[in-house]
Symmetry: C2
Subunit: 209 residues, 2 copies
DNA sequence: GAGCGTACCTACTCGGGCGTAAGGTTACGC
DNA sequence: GCGTAACCTTACGCCCGAGTAGGTACGCTC
């Protein structure tokens, strides 16, 4: 007579738990979030969470992985095919900012959480490395198409700069709810591509003196 | 007979405590760091820490502020004067990467910690905003010098992208101890300035279709 | 309609670590 | 020399929240 509590198959409950966990973790942060609150949000009791998804750290990592794979899938899916490099980059950025815009508060916050916290930073570093690698390859193709050469490490550094700039703009986007994600992507593309294009042509800046 | 424990004036002890706190916080992270360990590292007992610097959060904020003000001072000091904008940016970047290089592990880790953790993220956001503002002004001067115009928000966005890219390269620098900070600054300058220069001339990228 | 496995619960234990109460001891002013 | 203020300590209270023990109810199969 209290709450009827529908019985549901495991797979469904796991997703509900993850949904709840993402919300609570992003609101409160990893440490301030309590397992009790997550369980309550999921409409379930705490031991179920432990039974299905393990300890608190495991749960957080599960959240991280689910959201990360969604993001990466969105980006690589959009940037696939064999279009010219700038078009690929553009589509990738659009997908990225679209994702962030759609999940404002959710994903970014989780991501920010994880970057500092020791058990998780390796996880995040891995994701970033994968993203950077994709971009580095893309830049490499652009260089080759322009008939130039560039060292591996130069490409890597540029890719990391691009990733960092995009993350930063993603934060900015979250803080400016009226801003259109598409527009943010365009802005990022302008900054990234005009600089990249110059570099790919062999231009370099040097101190004036 | 046990440990002689020199008595020291407050100002000195406070600095020792902050030194210890920065080390422990960056090693362990905010939550995993214990006040006992910090006190021990400082060669003092716990109640002294509370007496001088307050609760754990206060202590962390004190660390953050001290390190941040050192960084900002280094950057703005280096970029001062009325040199041409690219020269100013270059000097600022050099100071930034020099600082990070000299404090590998220390500052960056602390900074990463703080960005996610709720009570501190506002603090960090404020610092970033100050940095971005400085850069935005600088870019604005460059635009004006080129006889062009740019909206406030365009400049702001570019500044944030630049800050994000620099942060990202700073992380990369920390993970590559053999890399020279000066070189990292040059790389960043190339990426930033060539793109900026193009934008300032009124160039824009647009989708091919 | 008995049995069995899976979903689910209430109600605890237990440890870690923040913050403090209450009391010693050294230096410095006069 | 003696008070007093600042330095410094040991030793504890106490809360909070992760994780678990042990048991109940539901529904599916034959």
């Amino acid at each position: 007579m209290v709450s009827p509590v529908k019985r549901l198959p495991r797979a469904v409950r796991e997703q509900q738990m993850l949904d709840a966990a993402v919300r609570v973790f992003s609101r409160r942060g990893f440490h301030a979030a309590s397992m009790d609150e997550i369980a309550e949000h999921a409409g379930i009791s705490k031991p179920m969470v432990y039974a299905y998804l393990g300890a608190k750290e495991d749960l957080f990592i599960a959240c991280l992985r689910r959201e990360a794979s969604r993001l990466i899938e969105a980006v690589t899916g959009a940037a696939g095919g064999d279009l010219p490099p700038d078009e690929q980059l553009w589509r990738g950025l659009r997908a990225f900012f679209g994702f962030v815009g759609a999940h404002r508060e959710g994903w970014t916050v989780l991501y920010r959480q994880a970057r500092g916290q020791e058990p998780f930073s390796r996880e995040v570093a891995g994701m970033r490395a994968r993203m950077a690698e994709v971009i580095a390859v893309l830049l490499g193709r652009a260089v080759a198409a322009a008939g130039q050469r560039a060292s591996e490490s130069d490409l890597e550094v540029m890719a990391y700069a691009l990733v960092g700039a995009s993350e930063s703009l993603a934060d900015w986007l979250v803080d400016h709810p009226t801003e259109d994600p598409e527009r943010a992507a365009t802005r990022m593309m302008n900054i990234a591509w005009l600089g990249a294009d110059q570099l790919l042509r062999g231009a370099t800046w040097r101190p004036s003196r």
